[in-house]
């Protein structure tokens, strides 16, 4: 199954590459060139409504999708997670993996007309993002110095090699921010935050709060002839049923991430006017799991956690709760992320094995058939997770574990999980293309921090794992990193610090008249400078 998938992916990647190569040639063929003509308006759902659009200050999912059209990063990433030029036209890495030199495009301009230069890059990475962006802070604090060699050359010197350093230049990980607007100001209180200024193909025009965000074509965009669309409206539609209607009626031409509830997906897939794809999320590669507080009894026992892996049917979850979206997870790394290790201990769905493990761990059945009681704090992120909670309760009941479901809202959930006040919960986390960026943080013991969400909230600690993850990040030799990450994955799968569920896939629905919407691993967060509308 996974082989076939990989083959499928390779074929698609090859096709995408071929299309990319063919594009410049196509311009010389009049008939084909006419297809990519200017004009057209795209309506895209944005849900929930972002609080602000300044990507350097807020990296919430919907903010990334909207602001990805306004701001840009130095690099973007293909479906294979290999870097591609964006604001950096070329880059070099020194053999010791400590010095990264970027050559910038020379004709990029901010939306207010000022030129984009190396000084903006230095300011963004060494000042602004260090202050406001948790992920960028983690990466750029590894730099010894960041300097502009000239107006269009930037050099990053690292204290020690860091394998996934290039991944840090994707637009949401390090959006380039205008120095002339933010230098010397209180970034978060800057009045300019109401009218974001980036280098991207679309400019901010109007935000009718609660209703829509209007972006218009940047006529001064640095890629000649682009973008093709005249404007983009991001429409706020808070009710899931209404969003599905909007797609059916053609009021909106695109939805992404979890805009459409999973149970609506099969119905919308059959519509004649839209196409569905699950590509374009490779950079995020979310992995879902049952979060396990390993401090609490009986969850501190490895055998209990292994029993959970056997008791829960991940294929059922994929087919019946996620309606076919995603792949059952086999371990801590999503198989589309780099350094995935397939040869790990397998936990097939087998309630008998689960019961045997529970017996062995000393959890005998009581008079009422119950071996143990645990609480499950259901993640308040929509109907699907509620159904998952109900399934887990049933599945655990079959092996004699009594699960009490607890509900809360987003604030309560973050508050309780980050302060370790739970037994079981759900979670899903983005992997950002490299284990050092998106996987390590969940399992290493120096990231056990009370009050911090998406840290090692389970309290899992294994010195061997800590060592492997630390070593793997500090080299940029891929074979070496693969060995270290493979070893770490094998240990983790044996220890079950969380019970992995699915390598999640999100459905992107795009109106068939709009082409090139999903071309890279960041999919809908891409700048959309090459999206065009076929007119009839």
């Amino acid at each position: 199954m996974s082989n076939r998938l990989r083959h499928f992916r390779q074929t698609l990647t090859a096709a995408a590459l071929a299309a990319a190569l063919a594009a410049p040639l196509a311009l010389t063929v009049p008939g084909v060139a006419a297809a990519q003509e200017r004009g057209g308006t795209m309506n895209i759902i944005v849900q929930p409504e972002p609080p602000i659009l300044v990507l350097g200050l807020n990296q919430q999912g919907p903010t990334q999708t909207v602001a990805g059209k306004i701001y840009q990063g130095l690099l973007t990433f293909g479906f294979d997670l290999k870097p591609q030029p964006e604001l950096a036209e070329s880059w070099e890495v020194s053999p010791d993996g400590k010095v990264y030199t970027f050559k910038l495009v020379k004709n990029a301009k901010w939306h207010d007309g000022k030129p984009f230069t190396a000084h903006d890059v230095v300011f963004s990475t060494s000042k602004l993002l260090m202050e406001t962006h948790p992920r960028a802070r983690a990466t750029f604090s590894k730099c010894e110095k960041i300097e502009a060699l000239d107006d269009y050359t930037v050099q990053f010197t690292l204290k020690e090699p860091f394998g996934p350093f290039l991944q840090a230049f994707e637009v949401s990980s390090a959006p380039m921010m205008p120095k002339h607007i933010y230098e010397g100001t209180d970034f978060k209180a800057n009045p300019a935050n109401a009218t974001p200024i980036g280098t991207g193909p679309f400019k901010f025009k109007e935000w009718n709060k609660g209703s829509y965000i209007h972006l218009v074509r940047n006529d001064e965009y640095w890629k000649a002839g682009k973008p093709y669309l005249d404007d983009i409206y991001f429409r706020v539609i808070p009710d899931a049923a209404s969003r599905a209607v909007a797609v059916e009626q053609g009021t909106v031409q695109q939805t992404q991430f979890n805009d459409i509830e999973t149970f609506d997906v099969p119905r919308l897939k059959g519509l004649p006017n839209v196409e569905m794809t699950t590509k374009g999320y490779e950079f995020f590669a979310p992995l879902s799991w049952i979060e396990i507080n390993t401090r609490n009894k009986p969850l501190d026992d490895k055998r209990f956690r292994q029993a959970m892996m056997h008791a829960i049917d991940r294929k059922f979850i994929r087919d019946k709760i996620w309606f076919g979206l995603g792949r059952p997870a086999t371990g801590p790394v999503n198989s589309v992320t780099r350094f995935f290790e397939p040869n790990v201990k397998k936990y097939d769905f087998d309630p008998k094995k689960a019961e045997a493990l529970l017996e062995e761990a000393g959890y005998k059945k009581g008079a009422d058939g119950t071996r143990a009681k645990v609480r499950l704090l259901v993640m308040p992120y929509g109907e699907t997770w509620t159904r998952l909670g109900e399934y887990v309760k049933q599945a655990m009941k079959r092996v004699g574990v009594d699960v009490t479901l607890e509900t809360t809202d987003a604030a309560g959930w973050v508050n309780r999980v980050s302060n370790w006040d739970y037994d079981l919960s759900f979670n899903f986390v983005y992997q950002y293309g490299d284990p050092a960026l998106g996987v390590t943080r969940t399992y290493v013991s120096d990231n056990i921090r009370k009050g911090v969400m998406f840290s090692n909230t389970m309290g899992y600690s294994n010195p061997e794992v800590d060592k492997l993850f630390a070593q793997a990040a500090q080299t940029n030799k891929d074979e070496e990193r693969q060995q270290l990450y493979s070893a770490a994955q094998k240990i983790l799968v044996e220890d079950v610090p969380v019970a992995w569920l699915l390598e999640m896939e999100f459905p992107t629905f795009v109106d068939k008249r709009f082409k090139n919407a999903v071309t890279t691993a960041i999919g809908v967060n891409e700048s959309y400078d090459s999206v065009y509308m076929v007119k009839k």
């Binding site: 609080p51 999912g61 935050n193 609660g210 604030a411 309560g412 508050n415 983005y430 009050g451 969400m453």
Partner: protein, 326 residues
């Protein structure tokens, strides 16, 4: 007349204390919910470190002791300053004013239509009690009252928007259509038809039942018999004699509901994607945007107090036996 002036001024003085007490109570109420805005934003970002949350708490002033936060808030409230939403980077007053027109055009229209329709239908049903038209009105009213409001909304969308294609399903205007003048007005009106109908049906059911019950009580009283014996025409008996005496309970409920008009309707605004105050409030709850939530509570409490006062005044107009007393 001075009696009325005295009554109003005394009520207004009391109202100020009531509203201040409500503000203090609200403050503790919103802070009693678990988590805070910093936690919500950390959850939404999908990544966080200790500094991220700490910075947010500092920016929102949440690192201060609660009594100090209360002091800051109350000192602003007495200056009629509703505070600032750090999440949305805008003053709360501006946020409310942005949303108010949408909410009022929805709730006021629905309210007025429901009130007029409800009284008319209720009267009709009561005067023909026991006939098929009474039964029909009662059944429709009960159904509208008992059916979940969002479901009615979705079904109306399905019928009139998806299947028949007559009316737009959501939003307040055709975005990007660039209408001006009369066209823009018509466009907005078309967008309001379904939400107003949905919300109006619910209110109307209440008024219909109230009016009907109240009229049934009044219509056999002695003074009605006297009026009839005098040979007054039926329409005059109904409108002047019966309705005027039967309307008080309707005014009570209407006054009560009018106070809540400004709060909007969370369900209607969500289903029809209307950017109104109800949705603002709902989102503020989930996001723990304390300032916005407190602003909405305060505004609502002011309106409720004002409408209670108005209701009392209207009582004395409709029924001279009721006197205002300070």
């Amino acid at each position: 007349m001075p009696r009325i002036a005295l009554f109003i001024s005394q009520r207004l003085v009391k109202a100020v204390f009531v509203i201040l007490a409500i503000a203090v109570f609200n403050f503790f109420l919103v802070h009693a919910a678990p988590g805070d805005p910093a936690a919500v934003m950390a959850g939404e970002a999908g990544a966080a470190d200790a500094k991220f949350v700490e910075q947010l708490r500092q920016q929102f002033g949440l690192d201060r002791p609660l009594y100090e936060q209360l002091g800051t808030y109350m000192s602003k409230v007495v200056q009629a300053d509703l505070g600032y939403s750090y999440r949305q980077q805008r003053p709360v007053f501006d946020l409310l004013m942005d949303r108010l027109p949408v909410t009022l055009s929805l709730t006021l229209t629905a309210f007025v239509l429901a009130l007029l329709g409800g009284i008319a239908l209720g009267t009709l049903a009561a005067m023909r009690a026991g006939t098929w038209s009474d039964t029909a009105i009662t059944v429709v009213g009960l159904t509208a009252y008992a059916t979940p409001i969002f479901w009615i909304g979705l079904m109306l969308i399905l019928l009139f928007s998806v299947n028949l294609g007559w009316l737009p399903a959501f939003g307040t205007e055709s975005i990007g259509a660039g209408y001006t003048g009369w066209d823009a007005f018509l466009d907005r009106a078309r967008h309001l038809v379904l939400p107003v109908t949905t919300l109006g049906l619910f209110y109307m059911a209440v008024y219909t039942r109230l009016t009907r019950a109240s009229i049934l009580e009044v219509r056999d009283m002695d003074f009605v018999k006297t009026a009839r014996a005098k040979g007054l025409p039926e329409w005059r008996i109904v409108s002047v004699h019966i309705l005027r005496n039967a309307i008080l309970p309707v005014i009570t409920v209407a006054g009560f509901q009018a106070g809540h008009l400004i709060g909007g309707s969370i369900l209607i605004e969500t289903v029809f994607a209307l950017p109104g105050i109800g949705r603002l409030a709902f989102e503020a709850v989930l996001q723990r945007d304390y300032q916005v939530l407190l602003g909405i509570f305060l505004l609502t409490s002011v309106v409720v107090v004002v409408f209670n006062l108005l209701t009392d005044l209207i009582y004395s107009l409709v029924d001279p036996r009721i006197e205002v007393a300070p």
